[in-house]
Symmetry: D2
Subunit: 353 residues, 4 copies
């Protein structure tokens, strides 16, 4: 058997980083060679995630400034760093170690348009040439391009959950582009591991709320991908909500069929589009998914039902924001980039209950 | 001081019944004279709700068949019985004790139209004359009629949460009636206390899902009240979801302003409409509510925000499904029917966290 | 009717502060005259606790440094400040406004022994004369002394939950003092509102753990009060745990009866001791309490059951850590200090579910 | 490669059954040949556990009465049936298909003593000869006997969590046998999937309670195994509690060292005993585990800390009740019985958060 690929996880002390380590430890083609964390530099992985206590051979957490990228000789680097920091780190990493493949889980390389980036993020991109090089890593939609990429921009969790049901319908011109409403609900790990009052258990448990109503950065990514699929500008209504649970996103999407297409027709399009996909499962017509049935797995479940208003349909999609919405999709992208079977290391079945 | 009114709670062993007892025990104008429960007949209230253990003087639970309504001489009966049973019980109660005021918390008397009732519920109403007599008990909208009612049909929890933000806008012809989407999320007490597999803790916790997608009986009540407010037929899209929390409903409502009305205009209409209402609070423009901030109280919080799509607005409303969505609104209706100050016994402040 | 007492809540932006405001807003003898918060100084109460949005007349949050205590002319100050800060603030407050009654909810004045304080907290007390003046505010045990106090040290939540079942038994020499094991479980509000990673929703939900095993500051308070009740030194085993819920403490306490006393005898002692107490309810023998049945109320429920090992008994006590464990007990102490009926403003019934 | 072993899961519609299917679907040496369920007979696995929707080749659910055990030709049958039913089914299965290995997850074959069984369960055992044949399946303690067993009685979840930390200490006579207190806390899946009011989400969430205080059937199993380890009768104090979470058991165990043994000595014994065990991990001295760090994995974490009372120690153990406490341990036993590497199919890493 070939030597294992050397993998680095940059930002291993956050939830996405921890999830990457969970998946990579059981991935048969890789070895974890490097783990970084800034505030926890010098600690071991078990100090920040005690579930790894039985894995004493994991490398210690180091600060990024200490790393000699050329010497690290990573085959693949997963970058789970905060927005903006990412640009600088990836730029330097690729300058020093051009053969390393980078799967970036931040939002930094998702927008292809430099102007759109500056508009949504309020500052110029610091690595515009990489922004152009980056391939948007929604495997079911951009698989071919991903296979040849050196830098993959892993999609956001909310946006993956909205794109998978909508893009095939938009491409087929099956729905009215002016009336798409996406009502999205996310578990709390989507908010990250930084200590913020609003994310404390007692602020969150036994309650429910919307946030970022009317304007949210995820919209930029949706605009780009929906417009690309439609061949013209598409703007959707999108409202995120917080659910008192750890994992999971569920999107309830309201659409109107074009040219007489009924909900059943939309269902048929999705069923056909995803027939052979290992990580997207379209439920029988009229059934809608629960987040709990994809928890811990890389699956997305999609349901389609009729609205009682003629011509309207309701799509419901569910995924685990840390797996298909982040680390699992990143490993899927690594598999594509490395030419390995796409499902390698991603066969965990959902943990329910 | 006048003698206290004699109150009965029919169906005291369910969540709504328990919540009524919580409120009525501290209501200064009433005494709880009668409590019923069928499967728990013969038990005491502490057996079904141990929080009442320190209240040994509560009457024992009796079966409805044992009651002589005339002898019971109730001033007010709260009816928290299952659908369909209710019709028969209320009919007999009012036949034997015509002076008793009835606040019914089931769906049985909410629909004024006999035909609509038969269509949604699949059978003829068994007390059609009472169905006509009943007054729909959304106090903020039908206060005057409620004051003179003998039989009040207490609104549903989902429908209260949707009507309070929408009816003033519909009445003022401020929004497009063809494009109203109500995405509603409820805590688990809304599903009642009957033992069902789907409501077990382990089926519900750490997950989120939609249900009844496309068609749900609550729609009948919305159709009736929205059409009444509009003066013509209105049909809306409504999707309920289950949140892993005990109490609370949050509705995210997508509307389009008519004739150039912006979100700010809709906010101004609501602010003015509810200015003096004790139980509806309109938040500053752009703020949206959390269910946790109304938990245990009779308040509804309403927020209004702009969508980024010009002309569209997002309304968010939140209430406690067991209080303003059921028992609290029922007490509010009792206060109106009895001519007492409307807030009597309803001044509890939300319990957060 | 007499003028209302002027009340200040120092530290109003934390959970205990918010709970005090909830209770005091409905207390018929008081008006809230002053609210302090340091980081949120200049904001309104609704900014830190949106449930108070319908109460626009609450005073704004001010920093403590800005206050002229003499001019504030508070009748009662509730002090819900962090440990150590408290000593300095209370010292200055009482120096400037000696007639103000202080109910302190921190640990600063709970230990009577200067040396014990220094040993457990690692520094000298900064107001040792007040430490001696302070009366330990467990009303059911020290009621008479509290009535005459100027400075009341409100007990901790864990310790209240352990003392109420144990002190009557210790006083009566009914249990073996060498073998008391207290296994305590608390909801998350007990950890306060400061933003700490370990208290994030996703660190806490769907899990359970012990902490501070073997040594915890609450033990100092238990040592003091149990030794006082016993007339000799008592040291107990105490282990705290965190439950993924907002409110509630449950203590499971393992004891051995002395001189042939069986569990039934211990139950009889507690039943008699608490017969007339409004806020302690002893359940029938063999029944044990749930935290959910005291949630939001000032009640403590106590149960006693036999162990199968002869001579051993298991006590279980439950209370709401923010009410009887903090703000409710503080209001109870205010009522005693002010000579008002002890239950005034504390009659909320538990919110279940 | 050899043909895969044919596996049956009896009782596949409960939580333990679902967990077995999750693990077996990814076990490289087996194929799932038979799934049974009584009320759901005729349905497919996806109807009762939608997470298996992407696995259409799972066999349909059949009723046990329909099965010809000889024809089924199972290599291994996992029996996840209710107590008492189990005895009859296993008896018939082994009569018709004597070569099938049975891993029983009920309590039916755990007690070796016929009289003890009758005393705790209130009726005579219906397959006493099998009761004697059965081997108690705690792999870390009885590995050798399990390898040669035809019928393995998989231990209970509570008892596994208590035995793993205690048995090495009891065997080494390191702790006082008269003073062992086990305070155990379990997630809700331990209560099974039957629809009971007490297990509804709203009865459980936001609360905590003890149950079965003083007497619980799990004690019979503890008595047997602890007495076996000690070589004389041992009776312990054991109190179970319910935690509002899906998975996990944490046991806090209070012990006294014998002959001067300190907590550190107990830790050293456990560390040595479990040094090479793949599924038991002893944490560094003074650290104690969280249930969340073993969720979904077959690991048990054990911590040891000193009590402040000299000579006493506190042990804390944590496992996932559905994995090491049920299905995972059953697969571990299958691996032993079949002569496969013990960790096969059990390498999932804990899912946190």
């Amino acid at each position: 058997m070939a030597a294992k690929a050397r993998i680095g996880v940059l930002g291993a002390s956050g939830y996405t980083g921890g999830e990457l380590v969970r998946l990579l430890l059981r991935h048969p083609r890789v070895e974890i060679a490097l783990l970084t964390a800034e505030r926890s530099a010098g600690k071991s992985m078990r100090d920040v995630f005690p579930q790894f206590s039985p894995f004493p051979r994991l490398p210690p957490l180091v600060g990024i400034a200490e790393i000699d990228w050329a010497a690290a000789a990573l085959d693949v680097a997963f970058c789970a760093l905060p927005h903006a920091t990412t640009q600088k780190v990836v730029k330097e990493l690729l300058a020093r170690s051009p053969a390393t493949k980078v799967i970036d889980l931040s939002a930094d390389f998702r927008l292809r348009d430099v102007a759109a980036y500056a508009r949504w993020y309020g500052h110029e991109h610091q690595a515009p040439e990489l922004q152009k090089e980056a391939v948007y890593g929604l495997a079911e939609i951009h698989r071919r391009a991903i296979r040849n990429a050196r830098l993959v921009a892993n999609p956001g969790c909310y946006t993956t959950c909205a794109q998978l049901p909508l893009i095939p319908l938009i491409r087929q011109k099956a729905i009215d582009l002016a009336e798409i409403v996406i009502d999205a609900k996310s578990g709390m790990t989507g908010a990250g591991r930084a200590a913020k009052e609003a994310m404390l258990f007692s602020e969150v448990a036994e309650g429910f709320n919307a946030y970022g109503v009317g304007r949210h950065r995820h919209m930029a990514e949706l605009d780009q991908e929906f417009s690309l699929a439609a061949g013209r500008e598409v703007i959707v209504t999108f409202t995120p909500h917080l659910v008192p649970m750890n994992r999971g996103i569920l999107s309830t999407i309201y659409v109107r069929g074009r040219r007489g297409r009924r909900a059943e027709d939309l269902h048929a399009i999705l069923l056909k589009f995803y027939m052979k996909e290992p990580f997207v499962h379209v439920l029988p017509f009229g059934e809608t998914p629960h987040t709990r049935h994809v928890r811990g797995s890389n699956m997305t479940f999609i349901g389609v039902a009729s609205d009682r208003i003629p011509g309207r349909a309701i799509l419901v999609s569910a995924l685990d924001n840390l797996v298909k919405g982040a680390a699992g999709q990143a490993v899927q992208n690594m598999n594509l980039v490395m030419g390995w079977p796409e499902t390698t290391g991603l066969e965990q079945i959902a943990l329910f209950p």
